[in-house]
Symmetry: C2
Subunit: 189 residues, 2 copies
DNA sequence: GTCTATAAATAGATAGAC
DNA sequence: GTCTATCTATTTATAGAC
């Protein structure tokens, strides 16, 4: 019994890992259950033993993707907003070169089309992101602005067909975030 | 002959108007050609006399949606970044109460999944937006940051399931844009 | 140019064997 | 729990009548 439970959990985690990667990079509609299951080395029929619907998988995959994406960020840049922005607003992140990209940016305009479960998971993930930003700046308002500059900047940079323009946009966002960080803040009490 | 040309152009404009509205609010994948044609009071079969593919329609619809969305903005707030931000980052804009919402925010993470024609149109539309912002601030960098705060802020606000949180985010972005405007800028030469 | 009808492909979800 | 097979619905795109 314990073996079976473990086996089932392992299968579910394989599905979730595949889904987190595929959905983050290509969005909800472009990815089919079949693609997710093939990447997880399973078949379509096994899917509904683990998830109630494609939308259910999407919600859980976004949550996992968020956790995976932040797993490295705090480690690499625990106290410094500049490092955070450099990591987040990098061309590598934009160009799909991170194993787990940030779903907040990659899926931002996809979420409004989804059901409440998905919106709730996305909102919770954003709150964690903003808490992270809050610890690196001096006010909640500045944390919100930094989050929008990072998430919005990365999302916009991915939509452009002009690399120079896209790079310029990332640089401007980095500068904006830096001007909101603790070190640059003249209001330190 | 002239009559037919006019008639054809009118049909195309009706299709484009329907597509601009439907695509902007629901994205590329959630809208079918059939839905667009029904809204335009035509049938599916007539579609391919006007557009080569659904993707072709999408590109032209984004262009039209951008033009329509900006048609009012400069009129309402010709010289003032604060008015621009108040208009753009309003709850009405977020909640689909504008007849023509801004495709830059509503579709931002959808564009990366599309072909080059779509990306080019989106990029061109963003350039116009930034030129608008440039005329209301003191540097290109501030214009880029303002654009990201507005477009990214609106996009993010639409993804949340918590109205208070969403409103707070819009307010923070408005404050951020205001601090980048000409009036608040201490570097005026 | 617009219509009806249909081809051809894809995908979400389910049934039943093992 | 996972497999193969299939149902059902949807959608892009095309063919041909008017």
């Amino acid at each position: 019994m314990a073996w079976q439970e473990t086996h089932k959990e392992q299968s579910k985690q394989k599905i979730l890992k595949s889904a987190a990667m595929l959905f983050t990079h290509h969005g909800f509609e472009k990815i089919s259950i079949d693609q997710v299951m093939k990447k997880a080395e399973l078949t379509r029929g096994a899917f509904y033993s683990h998830f109630s619907s494609k939308s259910d998988l999407y919600a859980q995959a976004i949550s996992k993707a968020g956790i995976e994406a932040y797993k490295r960020k705090p480690v690499n840049c625990p106290q410094d907003m500049k490092d955070f922005a450099r990591y987040y607003l990098s061309t590598e992140h934009r160009d799909n070169n991170y194993q787990q990209a940030c779903p907040l940016a990659f899926l931002v305009s996809d979420i409004n089309q989804q059901d409440n479960q998905v919106k709730q998971v996305y909102t919770k993930t954003l709150k964690v992101f903003i808490e992270q930003a809050k610890s690196l700046t001096t006010s909640r308002e500045k944390a919100l602005q930094s989050a929008v500059l990072m998430i919005g900047g990365l999302a916009l940079s991915r939509a452009l067909d002009n690399k120079d323009f896209s790079n310029e946009l990332l640089a401007a966002c980095k500068a904006g975030v830096n001007s909101l960080s603790k070190e640059e803040d003249s209001d330190v009490s």
